[in-house]
């Protein structure tokens, strides 16, 4: 076998989660003669889409409207979302979810057989479709299983993409490490779609799985593409302390309440409305109290902690999520996974006890800068899902918009990439192969053969995550961010002295862990840098030194570019079509 074997497909989809599979199916359906390669570092059903719980939003009921969905999204984003993208999103959402239904997703139903919806945070109307509380799991498996029927989709399972191959100003392939053999190969394609998910693992407490290391963001960043709005990191208000395991927002959508150590429903003190009794027929109230947006709820936690109203635990402070009043039957039917997780990982049964929760890093609003058609500034390169920033999420994503996003833009991206692939050819195979060969040599040189390294991967990784939490967490300041930035720069230097334990080829997970850390250091730096530059508070980005929103200066997207001299920031105006910036109000309808 040749040392470097070149593989080819018309379209390369990097990442096999919800966005990647949706895009692959879109390509496969548009033109059965197109060959589609899905390249993923894990088997598709392991992708982190699997862990999404509460649901996915689209207008389906007659009491709802596209305008409301768009308004909720825009106001939730603190007016940083592009309104043209939001409109496309809400408009295409219902059809995409019906498509999921036709592909077998086991949506929870009304007695008449139509799909059921539930309320979620920050929404005027209940519009979240759900499959109990394993919505992401069911969507991912429905997409994966459906993808099996297309013979023009080839999967490269457990192939780790280390570099984008760019030639003649176009992205025309990837260099990928086949984990099974340890061989690095070129996979050439006329269009490349990045769908590698988020980067929650740059933080210590996260709902994200170990695989979410921002690979796609770093790949694009290194290829000269801007990362957009990276300073906006979503903390989910209800994760289990210690593990960061997600307790879905659906628990609150179904009526769960948040209480502090005195049993007080403290959210009422943070401009989120007044609580109703849990047995009041109008509880839970939409866009109020527990159904406020995630950024506001997470921020309220920090304030409560500062007041000494939280409970101290071995893994930091926490507060309680109380669902006991829902009763065993409703809990089993609507949020069975919450019960399973709380029982297994917190040792408590939510039917009888309150669940200890704290905010945990959940989602990256920012990502690879794309236009509304999912195209990046690099021709031939597209990005979709959490790794991308279109942007519909702005400064704070609404719960249950992310699963819909990966479908709507997955389908769009697939279509656009297919179109691009049919109009462009691979220009210089030899040059691309040479790039891949160089990349292979780089990896062997920097990791496998390197002698005399002194640094351990986990040490650097732990220090990176701690620095992110300490300086770029829920509340930030100039000095905290500077400190984080400095730490990250030092860690980048120390990374050069990394020493692998494992120098073999077959399933060298020591190597992949190092490559992931390499990516994460870039992504973390882009977050810290963007946050440092945005001197205002908006949505999830809260600067205590600049506590107000500053529309005059910052009603725009941060675009950060990687240069030899360090990151360079540009700004791009937010697209405003219908909803001029206004105050974000919750608690009053």
């Amino acid at each position: 076998m040749a040392e470097y074997e070149t593989l080819e497909a018309d379209i390369l989809v990097v990442g096999g989660g919800g966005a990647g599979l949706r895009a692959a199916i879109a390509c496969a359906e548009i033109d059965p003669s197109l060959s589609v390669a899905v390249i993923s570092k894990v088997y598709p059903m392991r992708s982190h889409t699997v862990a999404a719980e509460g649901g996915t939003a689209a207008v389906i009921k007659s009491n709802d409207s596209l305008e409301d969905h768009a308004y909720d999204t825009v106001s939730g984003s603190d007016w940083l979302a592009d309104q043209d993208a939001v409109w496309a999103f809400v408009k295409e959402a219902p059809e995409e979810l019906i498509q999921m239904e036709h592909w077998g997703c086991p949506w929870s139903r009304e007695p008449d057989g139509s799909v059921a919806v539930r309320p979620f945070g920050g929404m005027k109307t209940e519009r979240t479709w759900f499959a109990a509380d394993k919505t992401g799991f069911h969507m991912l498996h429905a997409l994966f299983q459906t993808s099996l029927k297309y013979d023009n989709v080839t999967r490269y399972d457990e192939w780790f993409v280390t570099k984008l191959l760019v030639e003649d100003g176009r992205c025309q392939g990837v260099a990928a490490l086949e984990l099974r053999t340890g061989k690095l190969r070129a996979i050439l394609g006329k269009a490349v779609i990045l769908c590698t998910g988020g980067a929650g693992r740059i933080f210590p407490f996260t709902t994200n799985g170990s695989i979410k290391t921002g690979d796609g963001m770093a790949l694009a960043y290194r290829a000269g593409v801007a990362l957009k709005d990276m300073e906006f990191v979503q903390y989910h208000p209800t994760g289990l302390p210690g593990t960061g395991i997600l307790i879905t927002e659906a628990a609150r959508g179904e009526g769960g309440i948040m209480v502090n150590k005195h049993g007080d429903r403290y959210l009422q003190h943070y401009d989120l409305g007044k609580p109703l009794d849990v047995h009041d027929p109008n509880h839970p109230q939409l866009r109020q109290m527990e159904l406020g947006p995630r950024d506001r709820l997470s921020q309220a936690f920090v304030k409560e902690m500062e007041k000494g109203n939280t409970i101290e635990g071995p893994y930091g402070d926490f507060i309680y999520l109380d669902v006991r009043h829902l009763g065993e039957k409703k809990i089993n039917k609507k949020i069975p996974f919450v019960r399973e997780l709380a029982k297994n990982y917190a040792g408590i049964d939510p039917v009888h006890e309150t669940i200890p929760v704290r905010p945990v890093v959940h989602y990256m609003m920012g990502g690879v800068h794309t236009d509304i058609e999912t195209a990046t500034s690099l021709p031939g390169l597209f990005a979709i899902g959490e790794c991308a920033c279109v942007s519909i999420n702005g400064a704070n994503r609404l719960g249950s918009n992310s699963l819909t996003e990966l479908l709507v833009f997955g389908a769009r991206g697939g279509k656009n990439a297919a179109e691009f692939a049919s109009e462009n050819a691979i220009s210089d195979k030899r040059a691309l192969e040479a790039q891949a060969r160089d990349e292979g040599e780089r990896i062997v040189r920097t990791f496998i053969l390197k002698q005399g390294g002194t640094e351990r991967i986990s040490t650097i990784r732990d220090q990176m995550t701690k620095a992110m939490e300490a300086g770029a967490g829920i509340y930030r300041t100039e000095s905290s961010l500077k400190e984080t930035w400095d730490t990250l720069m030092r860690l980048r230097e120390r990374f050069e002295k990394i020493a692998l334990d494992d120098r073999s080829n077959v399933y060298n997970t020591d190597l992949t862990t190092a490559l992931e850390l390499d990516f994460m250091l870039d992504v973390a730096a882009s977050v810290a840098f963007s946050a440092l530059e945005r001197k205002e508070s908006r949505g999830s980005h809260q600067r205590t030194d600049y506590p107000d929103r500053d529309d005059a200066k910052y009603l725009n997207h941060t675009l950060v570019y990687r240069t030899e001299a360090g990151p360079r920031v540009e700004y791009q105006d937010v697209v405003i079509t219908k909803w001029p910036p206004a105050e974000r109000t919750y608690g009053k309808k």
């Binding site: 019906i98 799985g209 593990t243 990982y345």
Partner: protein, 252 residues
Amino acid sequence: MGTPTTQRTIKLEVFRYRPEEEDEPTFQTYEVPYREDWVVLDALNHIKDTVDGTLSYRWSCRMGVCGSCGMMVNGYPKLTCAAFLRDYYPNAIRVEPLVNFPVERDLVINMDDFMRKLKAVKPWIIRKKEQPLAEGEYRQTPAELAQYKQFSMCINCMLCYSACPVVGREEGFIGPAVLALGQRYNLDSRDQGRAQRQETIFGHEGIWECTFVGECSTVCPKDVDPAGAIQMAKVQGAMEYMKTLLPWGQRS
């Protein structure tokens, strides 16, 4: 919750196999801190991070839903993210790759065969005629949903394949998870593809190979009950077969 400062330790005997260096697997013993709230996966991560980076295994979500971290823990197939050290302490814990699968390296198994079987059962909705999306969703009552819901909960962790002796001796046997998945689609009121799954589910390598040991359902972390799915299918399959023996029955 345990205090993170505890001094107690626990031993892990971990299956090691590095194909580039050795022909036979060995066991390597590691001593790791014991914590009440640690799972076996946490202990493995501790080893990889601080003791021995050469240990290879798969994991991701560590909340029992991605299905990657299935291993044999003291001889039983388990998700290591759901196997608490406290259930074994103070005894040593033996960690091996899932049995009935070839081993690529250390705790990493080869799942090619499983993936082939998964595709063979055609796990997608098959319709005689697709309803246009503009006409909305297919109606499905909660009762119809309940018919197949349990069988749709499979996370493809393959613990059931490790628990099944028939899988161990019959290479061709389609196996518990995939047969349950086939039933999941056959029982879905939206699906019309039963005939296309016939050969895989009801053929030579399908349900009839099963001798109803039932361990697949015992080890399933998601309560999918593949044994139940297979038993149900056998009753159906037998009745259909008997019908074909009747003079007016149709031979397929």
